[in-house]
């Protein structure tokens, strides 16, 4: 059998199974990426019938653009804060949901509630939070009534608060993905491990640190890397809540690129920015691939 598996006929069969995937990826992934790189080397693509080649000029322009720097900075803050909070909340909620102290039916109810934010459309999340975070919205009302705030804040309109506000929205929206994966992981940990530790006299915190975390490590690393990638791609949430403003305080690489293309029709410059964005994502992908490989 082993020799059969390595035979040429089998390789052909494997390729046949892969062929739809390869066709789709070639036409809808490789080709567009090639196109966007080609666009980025020319001037006035799309809007002009006869674009000229300008080499790396657009890349130089982008690197010198202070808006791009702001977008890079904001994306870093937004992504790191979101992913960190997703991890902490996801782990906390998953641990709570994995408790043996409550009957399954109650846990199912809580699990469903905890997952809800993730099941909403981004468009809905953005609109809902705009309503909630409105200067005269319910968030301000609750905080001022409880006494946390003296006066209502402009969460999305104040340059000092906007990035925090959109990050909060994204934390709320994204933690369930972590939670679900970690919960799955927790349920896969053998109870014998805990029993053995308990017999050795380990308390809950020790057990968490010496069994739960190491057992979940592979999931935590994959999820963190995936979440870093996906969070850095976030567009609709920002676009429909702040549009990148006020000033450039919530401008991310995605909104920056989109604006260049569809607000300013600078498709070539936008393509250059898109290629930068792709390169940054590729670095994360590299880390992810290496991690996956190490696991296999």
């Amino acid at each position: 059998m082993t020799s059969l598996r390595h035979s040429r006929g089998n390789a052909a069969t494997a390729y046949a199974y892969l062929s739809p995937t390869l066709v789709l990826l070639a036409v809808l992934m490789a080709l567009p990426i090639g196109m966007v790189i080609w666009y980025s080397l020319q001037n006035n693509v799309i809007t002009n019938a006869n674009p000229q080649l300008v080499g790396l000029q657009h890349y130089i322009d982008i690197l010198a653009d202070s808006q791009f720097h702001a977008a890079l900075r904001n994306t870093t803050v937004f992504v790191l804060a979101s992913v960190g909070a997703h991890l902490v909340l996801g782990l906390a909620f998953a641990t709570l949901l994995n408790t043996p102290l409550l009957p399954n039916r109650i846990k199912t109810v809580f699990r469903t509630i905890f997952v809800l934010p993730w099941l909403l459309t981004v468009a809905i999340v953005a609109i809902l939070w705009r309503l909630i975070l409105n200067p005269s919205g319910v968030f301000n009302y609750v905080l001022t009534t409880v006494g946390v705030l003296d006066a209502p804040k402009e969460w999305l309109g104040d340059p000092a608060l906007a990035l925090f506000a959109v990050t909060l929205m994204n934390i709320w929206y994204g933690y369930p993905f972590f939670m679900v994966s970690l919960l799955a992981g927790l349920q896969g940990i053998s109870a014998d491990l805990y029993e053995a530790a308990s017999v050795d006299g380990a308390g809950p915190i020790r057990r968490f640190a010496s069994i739960t975390v190491p057992q979940l490590r592979p999931i935590i690393i994959s999820m963190t890397l995936l979440d870093l990638i996906w969070t850095s791609h976030q567009f609709a949430l920002i676009w429909m809540s702040t549009g990148g403003g006020p000033l450039d305080r919530t401008e991310l690489l995605s909104t920056y690129t989109y604006k260049l293309a569809f607000s300013q029709y600078m498709f070539s410059t936008a393509s250059a920015s898109a290629v930068f964005f792709l390169l940054i994502s590729a670095l994360l992908a590299y880390a992810y691939v290496r991690h996956q490989k190490a696991r296999d």
């Binding site: 020799s3 035979s7 069969t13 046949a16 809007t47 999305l156 340059p159 403003g245 000033l247 300013q264």
Partner: protein, 434 residues
């Protein structure tokens, strides 16, 4: 491995290959055929279908535009019109997308600030040529938006932008209608102090930077100011503009402007006013319908924009138009032009302007004020007393010019950037764009 096994394997793998490839090809083909049906105009029985994309329908009373189109289709039984309607912002995106991908609607609504870009991209038709070809007498048109001497858009309905005032809030604060900027500052302060509402609101969000021409520059134009040089070049750093920005900054620092303005869109602003959370705003007459519909009890009126203290000249009244144009690549130019001609005809144009609370684009139509909203009648007087002003219309990359201005204004408001510095930055960037 013996040959029997090998042949079996290859046979098997070939059938697998075929099956799997068929799935992929089938999916692609299914896509193509269904799309093919979609793109085609559908001329099976000599009928022509043209698309008319605009943001007007959602802003008109229900059924108003559809009724007019029905009338057009009755008069032209061989033409079907498909109305593609959506909010202003998304229509613009759609039109850009269409112009980039060669799938423009045949006939489309145009805002003044888009015309230059679409015309130079060659995506909208030169209407001067079209009118010559079909022998149209353009003397009945009140205006035409021109680029390099040729018309590319025809204003269908014009909307003035006066000052809207919430009478109840004014009364509660014991304030009088302001006529000068300093009175305005004082009244806005009174309202903010005496009520739960704010004095003024400006929507300066950057997604749609048109707050610059709606909420900011009308102050400049009302006092006879301009932002252009005599020959149409940029003059964003002139004294008038500087004073206008300083005035807005004064309002901002006094805390009389509604919170959240830096990320507000136009609809947020109108919402604030409609719900009694702000006493004064600059806005389009097109919003009268909407305010009445959403808040029937709101007691409001429209007044002229306050002017610089001591200014006695004529006031520029900011206006915007619903322009109409057609795709440069339409397959049905004749039918498309027929639709435009119909919409500009005295009857249809008069009806449409009446529904919209705007001023007709056909010069021969006098607005019928007898049944009109009383607020609209006041607005008509304001309109007639001043001169129309809309300096962004027809400028290259007009939206980009506003975005530049908006960004600098946000720096001035939120970060106390010196106005001189901000305005020279605007001027410098504008000069690059012109």
């Amino acid at each position: 491995m013996n040959s029997a096994v090998r042949s079996r394997t290859t046979l098997r793998s070939r059938s697998v290959q075929t099956a799997v490839a068929a799935v992929a090809v089938g999916a692609l083909a299914a896509g193509c055929s269904s799309a093919g049906g979609e793109v085609d105009g559908g001329d099976d029985d000599g009928q022509v279908t043209i698309e008319f994309m605009q943001w007007w329908e959602p802003e008109l009373p229900d059924g108003a535009l559809a009724g007019l189109i029905e009338q057009f289709e009755e008069e032209n039984p061989d033409i079907n019109v498909e109305l593609l309607s959506g909010p202003f912002a998304s229509i613009k995106d759609q039109v850009i997308a269409g112009s980039a991908s060669g799938t423009m609607p045949d006939v489309l609504g145009l805002a003044g600030s888009w015309v230059h870009d679409f015309a130079t991209q060659g995506s909208i038709a030169n209407l001067t040529d079209v009118m010559t070809e079909y022998g149209y007498d353009d003397s009945q048109l009140g205006a035409q938006v021109r680029v390099d001497g040729s018309a590319y858009s025809i204003p269908v309905v014009n909307f003035a932008y006066p000052m809207f005032i919430n009478n109840e809030l004014m009364e509660e604060a014991g304030a009088e209608v302001p006529t000068t900027r300093s009175e305005f500052v004082q009244v806005a302060q009174q309202v903010t102090d005496a009520t739960d509402a704010s004095g003024f609101v400006a929507a300066l969000g950057l997604e749609q930077p048109n707050g610059i021409q709606i909420d900011i520059m009308p102050w400049n134009w009302a006092s006879g100011g301009t932002m252009l040089t005599d020959d149409g070049g940029p003059a964003a750093d002139n004294e008038d503009v500087h004073e206008t920005v300083a005035f807005i900054k004064e309002l901002w620092d006094a805390g009389v402007m509604a919170p959240g303005g830096l990320t507000m869109a136009e609809q947020d602003k109108v919402e604030e006013f409609t719900n009694g959370r702000v006493a004064m705003m600059v806005s389009s007459l097109a919003h009268i319908n909407l305010i009445r519909e959403n808040s029937p009890e709101l007691d409001f009126s429209v007044v002229p924009m306050p002017v610089v203290d001591g200014y006695t000249g004529e006031s520029g009244v900011r206006y915007a138009e619903w322009g109409i144009g057609m795709s440069a690549n339409t397959e049905h130019p004749e039918e498309s032009w027929k639709l435009i001609e119909f919409i500009m005809s005295e009857d249809a144009n008069g009806e449409l302007s009446g529904f919209a609370n705007g001023f007709p684009g056909n010069a021969n139509v006098t607005p019928d004020l007898t049944d009109a909203d009383p607020v609209f009648q006041d607005a008509f007087e304001i309109w007639q007393a001043g001169y129309p002003a809309s300096e962004f219309t027809g400028l290259p990359l007009a939206d980009e010019l506003m975005r530049i201005f908006d960004q600098e204004l946000q720096h001035v408001l939120a970060e106390d950037k010196p106005i001189d510095e901000a305005m020279s930055a605007v001027q410098q960037e504008w000069s690059g764009t012109f």
